[in-house]
């Protein structure tokens, strides 16, 4: 489009976009404010924008019993996280391999998350957080691992069975989850897999597989055939060429697909709710803060739980924002 140049028009444009920002983030900002309020402030008749912030709600959601050194531990964890983020931001300036630093940060985070329950008396909601990490990681890795060769083959193969698989996948992508719930529930109870990580992971992989192969296929279509053909002339097998030559080229696409799979898995509510009891994820655990049919739940706790359950996802997506936006573009424009 022809660029708008008139200064007043530009101001109007930015005002409009700020309105969009407000429209998109206001509910989240309001909830974040609520999460730092006392019950009294949160239920005040006039909305309170200035108030004395408190971590009450967070400790109620995350801790079984508020311990005396809770604030100290909280500050300690916050300091460690802040240090890790700072290192991450300046990783390129540190005279070490950037990759090693990122892996180090990831490992440190994993250790903190894993061993936190031994330091502080964490509540069930924290276990749900761990469940979410395990289930989401497992589902994303398996989805992409089995989806990548399929997406590659679908991008290269010219026979009619490729079309059949693609169209079938498209149809299955759009079917409601409720239709599957009963079969999954009944069979998993019969074979004793109900309420296990492995069942939830495999089910999530399956329901997302149609989406995954479509998106991966779109990325593999952008890779010219000559790349792997030259490797195969040099004597590599098709699979070796795929693994050693094609995958590195298409890696940003694989990251984007993983991100989308993560999003869908993290959002899943109905299937996980029916298939788990102990091992439920954060999204399912959120329902305990809903309150009854006519009684709303405690606002600060609801808000704190909402922030805790959404923040990890927002951070991950914002870190990979570029791949994310590109992924939507490629997946849709090509597919």
């Amino acid at each position: 489009m022809r660029p708008i140049t008139h200064p007043f028009a530009r101001i109007g444009l930015h005002l409009f976009l700020w309105a969009v920002v407000l429209y998109s983030t206001l509910p989240f900002v309001w909830t974040t404010l609520n999460s730092f309020k006392t019950k009294r402030d949160a239920n005040a008749a006039t909305p309170q924008f200035v108030f004395e912030p408190t971590l009450e709600a967070y400790s109620a959601v995350l801790l079984k019993s508020a311990s005396d050194n809770g604030i100290l531990v909280g500050f300690g964890i916050f300091a460690v996280l802040a240090t890790l983020v700072t290192i991450g931001l300046f990783a390129k300036r540190i005279p070490l391999s950037t990759k090693a630093i990122y892996w180090g940060i990831a490992a440190a985070l994993a250790l903190i998350v894993w061993f936190l329950p031994t330091i502080v008396d964490t509540a069930e909601f924290y276990d749900n957080f761990l469940n979410t990490i395990i289930i989401a990681t497992g589902a994303v890795i398996i989805s992409v691992a089995i989806g990548a060769p399929a997406g590659y083959a679908l991008a290269r193969y010219t026979g009619i069975s490729g079309v059949v698989i693609l169209l079938g996948a498209l149809a299955f992508r759009s079917l409601p989850r409720l239709g599957y719930i009963l079969p999954y529930f009944q069979v998993s109870q019969d074979i004793g897999l109900w309420d296990t990580y492995i069942l939830v992971i495999i089910v999530l992989v399956a329901v997302n597989q149609p989406f995954t192969i479509w998106m991966l296929r779109a990325f593999f279509m952008t890779v010219p055939k000559e790349i792997e053909e030259s490797a195969m002339v040099d004597g590599a097998s098709r699979f070796a060429a795929f693994r050693k030559v094609v995958i590195p080229v298409v890696w940003p696409g694989i990251v984007a697909t993983s991100l989308f799979t993560l999003l869908i898995v993290y959002h899943e509510f109905l299937l996980i709710r029916i298939l788990t009891q102990q091992n439920k994820t954060l999204t399912v655990a959120m329902t305990q803060f809903l309150g009854g049919v006519s009684v709303p739940g405690s606002v600060p706790r609801q808000s704190a739980a909402a922030v805790v359950s959404v923040l990890p996802l927002i951070i991950v997506v914002l870190i990979f924002q570029k791949q994310f936006v590109k992924g939507i573009g490629a997946g849709a424009v090509k597919g």
Binding site: L17, L167, S174, L175, P176, L178, Y180, P183, I314
Partner: protein, 287 residues
């Protein structure tokens, strides 16, 4: 690529989809012809097509279907128009600010739908921001009833899906060849004419695709209606899926619930035929 290699490469993915998507659907079809509750889940009683008859004669089902169709029509068209306008505006900004605006407008789609609904509802609950603004402006208390609840569901649904349209259209606009824009400027086209004759024709395939995908996602609307209404029948806001959930989980007519799901599957597949046809043609053309 040879057929054998193709089958080897796709085997893991195909096996997973066959075992966990195709077979369960067939099994679900069979369960839809049985009477069972959670207690009798292992001794279903075969009732043939009775479940399907019961549903098709239930006015609540038709009400739910009608309401779902209203959501589909309103939300799909509204989110595409809003998304298109925002994408046009984003296209006018460059650099850091563009990344910031884009990131902010993605938030509704990243936030878990269930949680997003909870935080959205907080604005409208008694101590919330909107409830307060409404009270200040009109002097009346904002109450949830069948009408306001339906409006809220529509607004929230649009809020959730708009980011998809923004990003899709924005990505599409980046692929418009600059020569076309320049040529139309030379011809003296104003901005509206450029949008009308350059941008929209270029985005047409994308617009159709977005609409179709949104239609099939809207049919599956569950999480936000579930949280907003808490399945309270007072609001008369059942979509097909919440009606399905109520029948299967609350009333415990599991077979009946499955029959509803099967009917919905058939409806969606029929609604999908244009999309399937378009992509079939594309796939064949590519070969």
């Amino acid at each position: 690529m040879k057929r054998k290699t193709f089958l080897q490469f796709t085997a893991p993915s195909n096996i997973v989809m066959l075992v966990l998507l195709v077979f369960p659907l067939l099994y679900a079809l069979w369960l839809g012809m049985n009477f069972m509750t959670f207690r009798t889940i292992n001794e279903p009683v075969f009732v043939g097509l009775d479940n399907f008859k019961t549903i098709l004669n239930d006015p609540a089902f038709w009400a739910a279907l009608r309401w779902t169709l209203v959501i589909v029509v309103v939300a799909v068209s509204a989110h595409m128009i809003i998304g298109f306008v925002i994408a046009l505006a984003l296209d006018q900004v460059k650099g850091r600010m563009r990344a910031f605006y884009l990131a902010a407008s993605l938030i509704p789609m990243i936030v878990v739908p269930l949680v997003g609904t909870i935080i959205f509802k907080q604005l409208f609950d008694p101590p919330g921001l909107f409830a307060w603004a409404y009270r200040s402006v009109t002097g009346n208390i904002f109450v949830f009833n069948a009408t306001t609840m339906k409006q809220l569901i529509l607004v929230h649904t649009i809020w959730i899906v708009t980011p998809w349209a923004i990003v899709l259209f924005f990505a599409g606009m980046q692929t418009i060849p600059q020569e076309q824009v320049d040529a139309s400027s030379v011809d003296g086209a104003n901005r509206w004419q450029q949008v009308r004759h350059v941008v929209i024709p270029h985005l047409r395939p994308l617009i159709i695709l977005t609409a179709l995908i949104a239609v099939m996602d809207m049919f599956r609307l569950f999480d936000n209606v579930f949280v907003l209404t808490r399945l309270n029948p007072v609001y008369a806001s059942d979509t097909v899926l919440t009606y399905n959930f109520r029948t299967a989980m609350t009333v415990q007519r599991l077979g009946l619930g499955n029959a509803i799901a099967i009917i919905l599957v058939i409806t969606i597949v029929i609604a999908l035929i244009p999309l399937l046809y378009v992509s079939y043609r594309d796939q064949i053309k590519d070969r």
